[in-house]
């Protein structure tokens, strides 16, 4: 590597740091789905179908989570990002 490349490569955020950022999001997402009950993927799919009867959304605009707040209280959290009006 030439010295010139050396200085150049330090400037903009590297592609590796981009990869790391993306992976941290992906892995956090995969892990949160892992701890959910078995019926979850299907339930999520059906929720998306219902919403899709009214507005077109894609799967990644919906997040469904269970938060175990304490021993006898779990919260089902449904987040839908609506598309922008065109």
């Amino acid at each position: 590597m030439a010295l010139i490349d050396y200085f150049r490569s330090k400037k903009s955020p590297s592609s590796a740091s981009l990869a790391k950022e993306r992976l941290q999001i992906i892995v956090a997402h995969q892990r949160s789905e892992r701890d959910t009950p078995d019926y979850f993927p299907k339930m999520k799919q059906e929720i998306i179908e219902v919403i899709n009867r009214y507005i077109t959304i894609s799967e990644d605009q919906v997040s469904v989570n269970v938060d175990q707040n304490d021993e006898n209280l779990s919260v089902l959290e449904l987040n839908v990002t609506l598309p922008e009006d065109k």
Partner: protein
């Protein structure tokens, strides 16, 4: 009782078979009676990497189906008395591996061997699931690259929910990260995830880092596991990995790019 070690990854082509062959050979060299099993039914290639392809008569599926017994199917390694290979079948489909059949073979092998290394196929289908189901230890073979890391995390999910240990609420499988095809130079230039990055993302214990190395192709060309090339960086890195699996604390090597002379750095190479 044998320790059952699965070498797994999700993604294909990351170095599972290379690592299975190296680690099995390394354990045998250290005096441990070891068998390495090819779970890649229909696409066997562990026999090639071990250099015993011309001695395959019966295979894993023959044994499961009762068409041959273990002694007929096991191939003794020509370099070590402690090492045996159980090849995959070339023709069947992967559903030939049933939970009961695999369980019975592993149980029988457990009586004779200290270590059973399971070389997993890619993917998350039957063959891959069977190779990890009975594991005590998992070596998550990962390349420093997004799709490999994501697949490794998915496999971690399987180990934690679909394995025998998970189903029977036993102590969980010990999970180790083996980072392969690592290029220190590309890490320095910011093109490749570093060891620390991958460790941080997957959050499992690191057992070894194998550099990208020309010795690996050379080893596979000649059918000699790369760990036997003890002059090579990859060979040494696999030896270190085996030491760590055996509980010995050895420092990581080959994480820095080789130093170049100043002139080369200024004028490029």
């Amino acid at each position: 009782m044998a320790q059952i070690i699965v070498v797994t990854s999700g993604k294909g082509g990351v170095g599972k078979t290379t690592s299975s062959a190296a680690i099995a050979t390394g354990l045998a060299l250290e005096g441990h009676k070891t068998v390495v099993i090819d779970f890649d039914i229909g696409l066997r290639n562990l026999d090639l990497i071990m250099g015993c392809e011309r001695r395959v008569v019966y295979d894993f599926v023959n044994v499961i189906n009762g068409e041959a017994n273990l002694n007929q199917a096991l191939i003794k390694d020509k370099r070590s008395n402690n090492l045996f290979i159980l090849p995959a079948s070339q023709t069947r489909d992967k559903d030939a591996l049933t939970k009961e059949g695999v369980g019975k073979v592993l149980e029988d092998l457990s009586k004779d061997f200290e270590y059973i290394i399971c070389d997993s196929p890619a993917g998350i289908e039957q063959g891959a699931m069977m190779s990890l189901y009975y594991a005590d230890i998992a070596i998550i073979t990962t390349n420093p690259e997004v799709s490999s890391v994501r697949d490794s995390d998915r496999i971690l999910g399987m180990l934690q929910s679909k394995s025998r240990r998970a189903e029977q609420n036993l102590e969980p499988i010990q999970e180790y990260l083996l980072l392969t095809r690592y290029s220190p130079k590309r890490v320095t230039t910011g093109e490749m995830l570093s060891v620390e990055d991958v460790e941080e993302i997957l959050a499992i214990e690191l057992v070894g880092v194998i550099p990208e190395s020309q010795a690996v192709l050379k080893a596979s060309n000649s059918g000699t596991p790369v760990i036997l090339d003890n002059e090579s960086d990859a060979g040494k890195a696999y030896s270190d990995t085996v030491e760590r699996l055996l509980g010995n604390n050895v420092p990581l090597r080959f994480l820095e790019e080789e130093k170049k002379g100043l002139l080369k750095r200024i004028f490029g190479s």
